[in-house]
Symmetry: C2
Subunit: 211 residues, 2 copies
């Protein structure tokens, strides 16, 4: 992002700027965790910087020393979560059936982190508005997810393991919609829906495999 000469960053000898302090990174993480919780509970527009600051024991102004604006904070939360997902999937370029089985596993994992599920649910609905700061983020995200999953369905189709009459792209859009929609019902009342079971049910109807 920045193009500060490496000399200044690694060895600030004589140069004016100084790096951040030892505890700074931990503070930023604390803030991101708190912001995540606030945005997950109330969304971006209704969630406030004060809520975040209070959670982490800072003033609003202190918080804004670390993140220059509310929008920047949201962006940081989203990119952090993306990095963590990538980590979680490991060196994951699973393909075909492996990827589809991975989706079931992901759904199962999601039932253990209602906060994250809530964040994406509330935020994606809110970000439907083209003026929302996360609008572009979600557009990109859906495109990426769609491409990834449809690649898997296409491969499974080439292996003749899709039920006849099922188009890979249609199956993709339906799977994504199903997973998103289940989350709303599950957040409203988590006793009413067994998310992984429904995803398995769908995949077994759409493919000829067992999950």
């Amino acid at each position: 992002m920045t193009d500060t000469p490496a000399a200044l960053v690694e060895a600030p000898r004589r140069g004016r700027p100084r790096g951040s302090y030892a505890k700074t990174e931990a503070r930023r993480q604390e803030i991101l965790t708190a912001a995540f919780q606030v945005f997950a509970a109330s969304g971006y527009r209704a969630g406030s910087l004060k809520d975040v600051a209070d959670k982490v024991g800072l003033t609003q102004a202190g918080l804004l020393h670390h993140f220059p604006s509310k929008e920047a904070l949201l962006e940081a939360v989203l990119t952090l979560r993306d990095e963590e997902s990538v980590d979680r999937l490991g060196t994951a370029d699973a393909k075909g059936m492996d990827l589809l089985r991975g989706m079931v596993e992901l759904t199962r994992y999601n039932t253990t982190i209602p906060g994250l599920v809530s964040l994406y649910c509330v935020l994606s609905a809110e970000a439907t508005d083209p003026e929302h700061p996360a609008h572009q983020y979600f557009l990109r995200r859906y495109t990426w997810v769609r491409d990834t999953i449809s690649g898997a369905f296409a491969e499974v189709g080439r292996q003749g393991r899709l039920r006849p009459g099922v188009a890979p792209l249609a199956a993709t859009r339906q799977l994504i919609a199903l997973m998103d929609g289940l989350q709303v019902q599950w957040l409203l009342d988590n006793t009413s829906v067994d998310m992984p079971a429904e995803v398995v049910g769908f995949l077994e109807v759409v493919t000829t495999e067992k999950f």
Copy 2:
């Protein structure tokens, strides 16, 4: 709700209270339409009474003469929309296949009213929070929808028109989730998804019928 003696309502002769004026009902409708638009665009928490009042050419205080609180306004918007849906479905106690075909028709209709779709999308995500004033509303709503649709799938099943291995209740939960999830994708980018086509695709995989 109120238990004012009927005599006072229908014939206020001598009694103090008076009914509302001729244009009052029209005003209330204007307000509800405006409130609907605001809540659909920004949700309940981020949408403001001022936005609503401005749209209808009133002051905040003037608005609050008709609806005593923001919460009351939301409630009125939701119940109005429910009444209109019931009207739209006509003397609709469609059953079995008719009801399932009705769901496709409903999805098609939804593509003509992005505002309403947005309202329910944003609001249902927001109302996931148990503290949200519409939380109970959405819980009731989902229960009702689930019961209605699962009745239809059960009947279709009795007629032997469900694909083998498909459970009515599972199909119900999947259909609802699918429809909800499609809406988010469609609102984000309405060129990316053909909602009715996806619903048809799902129903044709789950049943042995053509839609």
